[in-house]
Amino acid sequence: MKRPLKYAYFPGCSLESTASEYNQSVKAVSARLGIELVDIPDWNCCGASAAHSMNRQLAHALAGRNLALSEKTGLDMMVACPACYIRFRTTYQVAKDEPIQKLAIENYIGMSYRANHQIRHLLDVIYTEVGLDTIKSQVTHPLKNLKVVCYYGCYLVRPPKIVAFDDPENPLIMDKIITALGSEVRDWSGKVDCCGGSLSLNKKAIASKLVHDISDMARKVGAEAIITACPLCQSNLETRQDNKKNKIPIIYFTELMGLAMDIPDSRLWFKKHLISPLNLLASYGL
């Protein structure tokens, strides 16, 4: 580690509710790896897909307020949810490229915004700033024999000009981190396919088909769990799997890190899952 790592942390709405286990594991793992997380005071919902689908000015303003608040802390921003991450990176780019848009955003939010801080995703910070060597040195309980696939979904890799810190078609950062924990990471063809998360509640048949395809691909390569960094993918992949088949647990990469690093609370996180990974983990003595 080169310098003290300190970020303005944006968890996002999901991490305060449906994905609270992700939030807990992010905080615990960050503390273990020496990443200091500073709360952004009174942040609001980023607007996600709903805002930019209905009203783009509203979308930029909702994202822009959080950007301005995080810039005010004097720190770079670290985002856990990929769906928030792409909104912030998009608005940041617009504010940077189009001075008129930047003025409009400032007018909407009633704050100044300079657009000269960095917006990083948690996965990028852990891989690039902390590094695999430090991660390996913290592993006290290697996850031997656990066969998994890493699922990146959409917004960690696409569109590459806005978000990507890894290859848009074959990203490997998460694979490398999970391999460093001792797991057997399988290569597969579903890692950047869309799970249809934005249609999970309003077009269930479409979301279910996409989830079935992804979980079938994971089964085909012998994966026992799917690892993700996105609360919306996790929830959609958990809730829309095929009831007629053996369900595959969907685990946050930070949860596995916590388990491999023997963080005391890590087993409590798994109790929140709708598809429990506890039996699978127990079968490997984890």
């Binding site: 607007g47 909407y108 569109p159």
Partner: protein, 187 residues
Amino acid sequence: MQYLNKNTIVVNDLTFARKIIEIGQVNISPCYQCLTCSLGCPVAFAMDYRPNQLIRMVQLGLKESVLSSSAIWLCANCETCAARCPNEVDIPKLMDALREMSLKEGFASQKSIISFNRSFLHSIRRWGKQFELPMLLQFKLMTGDLFSDLDLGAKMLIKGKMKLTPPHFKKSAVIKSIFRKSEGPSR
């Protein structure tokens, strides 16, 4: 100019493409119909028109068919087309502009998707963040689909995955003012 299809006569709106390009700030003329977008699109199987067809239809000024299509709302915003287009046509950006115009001009189909978006935005307006329980209740009331996923909702409540009290948020006046300004005179 008129386009004849089996049942209807579609009148081309030759200003349509220009308006969309202007409000969306998106260049669609480099599209040479290679179909990369539609072949990689995860929801193309469910769309009435595929992404490459939509681009051609915008170019041809088939305004009503485009704005009332299911495709513009079924688009999951996954950005696969944008990442793969050899001519860098930003289709997701085009979709945003089309959706916005279809709402403004009253063409929007796909009630369940729009109802979800409205419930989602209403939650932000009211609480600054997502408050899932009332948001989902509102969505269900808007669509009249009260009984689906009740078992799932119950499981999520038991697992503590949904808050029972509103999220912490103080500056609600600021958020309300953002919403008012964004709705502006054009809505």
